[in-house]
Protein backbone atom coordinates (compact mmCIF):
# COMPACT_ATOMS: atom_id res chain seq x y z
CA UNK A 1 0.00 0.00 0.00
CA UNK A 2 1.21 3.47 -0.87
CA UNK A 3 2.11 5.58 2.18
CA UNK A 4 -0.48 8.25 2.99
CA UNK A 5 0.07 11.74 1.59
CA UNK A 6 -0.66 15.09 3.13
CA UNK A 7 -4.06 15.14 1.46
CA UNK A 8 -5.09 11.95 3.25
CA UNK A 9 -4.21 13.46 6.59
CA UNK A 10 -6.12 16.58 5.80
CA UNK A 11 -9.18 14.69 4.64
CA UNK A 12 -9.26 12.87 7.94
CA UNK A 13 -8.89 16.11 9.84
CA UNK A 14 -11.56 17.82 7.74
CA UNK A 15 -13.98 14.97 8.37
CA UNK A 16 -13.26 15.11 12.07
CA UNK A 17 -13.88 18.85 12.01
CA UNK A 18 -17.22 18.41 10.30
CA UNK A 19 -18.27 15.67 12.71
CA UNK A 20 -17.51 18.04 15.55
CA UNK A 21 -19.47 20.89 13.96
CA UNK A 22 -22.40 18.59 13.28
CA UNK A 23 -22.28 17.46 16.88
CA UNK A 24 -22.63 21.01 18.16
CA UNK A 25 -25.73 21.51 16.07
CA UNK A 26 -27.10 18.06 16.74
CA UNK A 27 -26.94 17.41 20.45
CA UNK A 28 -29.25 18.63 23.15
CA UNK A 29 -27.03 17.69 26.04
CA UNK A 30 -24.56 20.49 26.67
CA UNK A 31 -21.96 18.06 27.97
CA UNK A 32 -21.92 16.31 24.63
CA UNK A 33 -21.84 19.68 22.89
CA UNK A 34 -18.65 20.42 24.80
CA UNK A 35 -17.25 17.09 23.69
CA UNK A 36 -18.06 17.95 20.09
CA UNK A 37 -16.15 21.19 20.49
CA UNK A 38 -13.18 19.18 21.69
CA UNK A 39 -13.44 17.09 18.56
CA UNK A 40 -13.32 20.24 16.43
CA UNK A 41 -10.22 21.48 18.22
CA UNK A 42 -8.59 18.09 17.77
CA UNK A 43 -9.33 18.17 14.08
CA UNK A 44 -7.33 21.39 13.90
CA UNK A 45 -4.58 19.71 15.94
CA UNK A 46 -4.46 16.88 13.47
CA UNK A 47 -4.10 19.29 10.59
CA UNK A 48 -1.29 21.10 12.39
CA UNK A 49 0.55 17.86 13.09
CA UNK A 50 0.10 16.77 9.50
CA UNK A 51 1.49 20.02 8.14
CA UNK A 52 4.32 19.78 10.62
CA UNK A 53 5.08 16.28 9.38
CA UNK A 54 5.09 17.37 5.75
CA UNK A 55 8.03 19.63 5.69
CA UNK A 56 7.15 22.55 7.90
CA UNK A 57 9.28 21.87 10.95
CA UNK A 58 8.31 21.49 14.56
CA UNK A 59 6.42 24.76 15.08
CA UNK A 60 3.11 23.11 14.29
CA UNK A 61 3.63 20.61 17.06
CA UNK A 62 4.38 23.37 19.51
CA UNK A 63 1.15 25.01 18.45
CA UNK A 64 -0.70 21.76 19.18
CA UNK A 65 0.82 21.74 22.62
CA UNK A 66 -0.61 25.19 23.25
CA UNK A 67 -3.97 24.19 21.86
CA UNK A 68 -4.14 21.24 24.22
CA UNK A 69 -3.40 23.55 27.12
CA UNK A 70 -6.01 26.09 26.11
CA UNK A 71 -8.57 23.38 25.39
CA UNK A 72 -8.11 21.97 28.85
CA UNK A 73 -8.78 25.39 30.35
CA UNK A 74 -11.76 25.88 28.10
CA UNK A 75 -13.27 22.56 29.11
CA UNK A 76 -12.75 23.37 32.76
CA UNK A 77 -14.48 26.72 32.34
CA UNK A 78 -17.31 25.22 30.32
CA UNK A 79 -17.92 22.47 32.83
CA UNK A 80 -17.83 24.95 35.68
CA UNK A 81 -20.52 27.04 34.03
CA UNK A 82 -22.56 23.91 33.41
CA UNK A 83 -22.27 22.87 37.03
CA UNK A 84 -23.43 26.31 38.15
CA UNK A 85 -26.28 26.15 35.66
CA UNK A 86 -27.30 22.72 36.86
CA UNK A 87 -27.27 23.86 40.45
CA UNK A 88 -29.53 26.75 39.66
CA UNK A 89 -31.88 25.37 37.03
CA UNK A 90 -31.44 21.61 37.23
CA UNK A 91 -30.77 21.23 33.56
CA UNK A 92 -27.97 20.97 31.05
CA UNK A 93 -30.16 20.76 27.99
CA UNK A 94 -29.81 23.24 25.17
CA UNK A 95 -33.56 23.64 24.76
CA UNK A 96 -33.89 24.80 28.36
CA UNK A 97 -31.56 27.72 27.93
CA UNK A 98 -33.40 29.73 25.31
CA UNK A 99 -34.82 32.46 27.54
CA UNK A 100 -32.69 35.14 25.94
CA UNK A 101 -34.00 35.72 22.47
CA UNK A 102 -35.28 38.12 19.84
Amino acid sequence: MEPPGLNHWLVVSAMLFCIGAAGVVLRRNLLVVLMSLEIMLNAANLALVAFSRYGNGLDGQIFVFFVITVAAAEVAVGLAILVALYRLCGTVRVSDIATLKL
Binding site: P3, L10, C18, R27, V32, Y54, Q61, V75
Partner: protein, 171 residues
Protein backbone atom coordinates in the same frame (compact mmCIF):
# COMPACT_ATOMS: atom_id res chain seq x y z
CA UNK B 1 2.64 -1.10 7.41
CA UNK B 2 2.53 2.64 7.96
CA UNK B 3 -0.26 3.04 5.45
CA UNK B 4 -2.26 0.26 6.98
CA UNK B 5 -1.88 1.72 10.44
CA UNK B 6 -2.81 5.16 9.18
CA UNK B 7 -6.00 3.87 7.62
CA UNK B 8 -6.85 1.85 10.68
CA UNK B 9 -6.31 4.69 13.12
CA UNK B 10 -8.11 7.16 10.86
CA UNK B 11 -11.09 4.90 10.57
CA UNK B 12 -11.21 4.26 14.28
CA UNK B 13 -10.84 7.96 15.11
CA UNK B 14 -13.63 8.98 12.78
CA UNK B 15 -15.89 6.16 13.85
CA UNK B 16 -15.28 7.03 17.47
CA UNK B 17 -16.11 10.67 16.84
CA UNK B 18 -19.29 9.77 15.01
CA UNK B 19 -20.36 7.55 17.85
CA UNK B 20 -19.63 10.30 20.37
CA UNK B 21 -22.10 12.62 18.75
CA UNK B 22 -24.76 9.97 18.27
CA UNK B 23 -24.71 7.88 21.45
CA UNK B 24 -27.54 8.61 23.83
CA UNK B 25 -25.74 8.06 27.08
CA UNK B 26 -23.29 10.85 27.98
CA UNK B 27 -21.12 8.36 29.86
CA UNK B 28 -20.84 6.27 26.74
CA UNK B 29 -20.03 9.35 24.73
CA UNK B 30 -17.27 10.30 27.14
CA UNK B 31 -15.72 6.85 27.01
CA UNK B 32 -15.86 6.89 23.22
CA UNK B 33 -14.21 10.30 23.24
CA UNK B 34 -11.35 8.81 25.22
CA UNK B 35 -11.00 6.11 22.59
CA UNK B 36 -11.09 8.66 19.80
CA UNK B 37 -8.30 10.65 21.37
CA UNK B 38 -6.38 7.48 21.99
CA UNK B 39 -6.47 6.57 18.32
CA UNK B 40 -5.56 10.09 17.45
CA UNK B 41 -2.48 9.71 19.59
CA UNK B 42 -1.71 6.75 17.33
CA UNK B 43 -1.95 9.04 14.34
CA UNK B 44 0.40 11.46 16.07
CA UNK B 45 2.90 8.67 16.48
CA UNK B 46 2.65 7.96 12.77
CA UNK B 47 3.40 11.62 12.16
CA UNK B 48 6.53 11.33 14.31
CA UNK B 49 5.03 13.63 16.93
CA UNK B 50 6.14 11.48 19.84
CA UNK B 51 5.87 14.05 22.53
CA UNK B 52 2.43 15.16 21.43
CA UNK B 53 1.18 11.59 21.38
CA UNK B 54 2.13 11.27 24.99
CA UNK B 55 0.66 14.64 25.86
CA UNK B 56 -2.54 13.78 24.05
CA UNK B 57 -3.00 10.65 26.14
CA UNK B 58 -2.00 12.32 29.38
CA UNK B 59 -4.00 15.47 29.03
CA UNK B 60 -6.99 14.44 27.00
CA UNK B 61 -7.45 10.81 27.74
CA UNK B 62 -6.31 11.34 31.27
CA UNK B 63 -7.21 14.69 32.67
CA UNK B 64 -10.00 16.03 30.51
CA UNK B 65 -11.89 12.78 30.42
CA UNK B 66 -11.76 12.41 34.14
CA UNK B 67 -13.13 15.91 34.39
CA UNK B 68 -15.98 15.09 32.02
CA UNK B 69 -16.86 11.87 33.80
CA UNK B 70 -16.67 13.56 37.15
CA UNK B 71 -19.09 16.26 36.06
CA UNK B 72 -21.40 13.72 34.45
CA UNK B 73 -21.58 11.87 37.72
CA UNK B 74 -21.96 15.10 39.66
CA UNK B 75 -24.84 16.25 37.51
CA UNK B 76 -26.37 12.80 37.53
CA UNK B 77 -26.94 13.14 33.80
CA UNK B 78 -29.15 10.30 32.77
CA UNK B 79 -29.45 8.61 29.45
CA UNK B 80 -31.71 10.55 27.17
CA UNK B 81 -35.16 9.06 27.39
CA UNK B 82 -35.98 9.12 23.73
CA UNK B 83 -33.76 10.23 20.90
CA UNK B 84 -30.85 12.40 21.84
CA UNK B 85 -31.64 14.93 19.15
CA UNK B 86 -34.63 16.39 17.35
CA UNK B 87 -35.38 15.67 13.73
CA UNK B 88 -34.82 19.27 12.72
CA UNK B 89 -31.50 19.27 14.50
CA UNK B 90 -30.56 16.11 12.62
CA UNK B 91 -31.22 17.73 9.27
CA UNK B 92 -29.39 20.86 10.38
CA UNK B 93 -26.39 18.89 11.55
CA UNK B 94 -26.26 16.99 8.27
CA UNK B 95 -26.47 20.26 6.38
CA UNK B 96 -23.72 21.93 8.38
CA UNK B 97 -21.46 18.91 8.33
CA UNK B 98 -22.06 18.35 4.64
CA UNK B 99 -21.51 21.95 3.66
CA UNK B 100 -18.33 22.29 5.67
CA UNK B 101 -17.04 18.98 4.36
CA UNK B 102 -17.78 19.96 0.79
CA UNK B 103 -15.97 23.25 1.26
CA UNK B 104 -12.92 21.75 2.95
CA UNK B 105 -12.77 18.86 0.50
CA UNK B 106 -12.82 21.36 -2.32
CA UNK B 107 -9.95 23.24 -0.71
CA UNK B 108 -7.93 20.05 -0.22
CA UNK B 109 -8.61 18.91 -3.79
CA UNK B 110 -7.61 22.22 -5.31
CA UNK B 111 -4.67 22.65 -2.96
CA UNK B 112 -2.53 20.01 -4.79
CA UNK B 113 -1.26 18.57 -1.56
CA UNK B 114 -0.45 15.00 -2.57
CA UNK B 115 2.90 15.92 -4.02
CA UNK B 116 4.24 17.41 -0.80
CA UNK B 117 7.07 15.21 0.49
CA UNK B 118 7.34 14.23 4.12
CA UNK B 119 9.84 16.23 6.15
CA UNK B 120 12.33 15.07 8.68
CA UNK B 121 11.01 16.80 11.77
CA UNK B 122 11.11 14.48 14.77
CA UNK B 123 8.86 15.62 17.59
CA UNK B 124 10.95 14.27 20.42
CA UNK B 125 10.55 15.71 23.86
CA UNK B 126 13.99 17.25 23.72
CA UNK B 127 13.41 18.98 20.39
CA UNK B 128 9.98 20.20 21.33
CA UNK B 129 11.19 21.38 24.70
CA UNK B 130 14.08 23.28 23.21
CA UNK B 131 11.81 25.10 20.81
CA UNK B 132 9.17 25.71 23.42
CA UNK B 133 11.49 27.27 25.95
CA UNK B 134 13.39 29.37 23.47
CA UNK B 135 11.30 30.66 20.64
CA UNK B 136 7.90 30.23 22.22
CA UNK B 137 8.70 31.11 25.79
CA UNK B 138 6.54 34.22 25.71
CA UNK B 139 3.30 32.51 24.65
CA UNK B 140 4.14 29.85 27.20
CA UNK B 141 4.13 32.49 29.91
CA UNK B 142 0.91 33.97 28.56
CA UNK B 143 -0.60 30.49 28.68
CA UNK B 144 0.37 30.27 32.31
CA UNK B 145 -1.53 33.50 33.00
CA UNK B 146 -4.44 31.99 31.10
CA UNK B 147 -4.43 28.93 33.32
CA UNK B 148 -4.22 31.12 36.39
CA UNK B 149 -7.19 33.18 35.26
CA UNK B 150 -9.19 30.08 34.42
CA UNK B 151 -8.43 28.54 37.79
CA UNK B 152 -9.39 31.66 39.69
CA UNK B 153 -12.61 32.06 37.77
CA UNK B 154 -13.67 28.45 37.93
CA UNK B 155 -13.16 28.32 41.65
CA UNK B 156 -15.43 31.30 42.19
CA UNK B 157 -18.03 29.96 39.83
CA UNK B 158 -18.44 26.53 41.41
CA UNK B 159 -17.83 27.52 45.00
CA UNK B 160 -21.00 26.82 46.94
CA UNK B 161 -22.62 29.89 48.49
CA UNK B 162 -21.16 30.39 51.95
CA UNK B 163 -24.06 31.74 53.92
CA UNK B 164 -27.64 30.69 53.66
CA UNK B 165 -28.73 34.23 52.81
CA UNK B 166 -26.41 34.11 49.81
CA UNK B 167 -28.36 31.17 48.50
CA UNK B 168 -29.67 31.61 44.98
CA UNK B 169 -33.33 32.36 44.50
CA UNK B 170 -35.16 29.26 43.40
CA UNK B 171 -35.40 29.39 39.66
Amino acid sequence: MEAALFHLFSFLTLAGALLVITRRDPVNAAMLLVLTFFFMAGLFVLAHAWFLAAAQILVYAGAIMVLFLFVIMLLDAKEETRRCFGRVAGVGALAVGGALLAALAGVIRDGRLWRVPAGDAEGTTAAVGRLLFNTYLLPFEVASVLLLAATVGVIVLIRAPRRPDDAPPSA
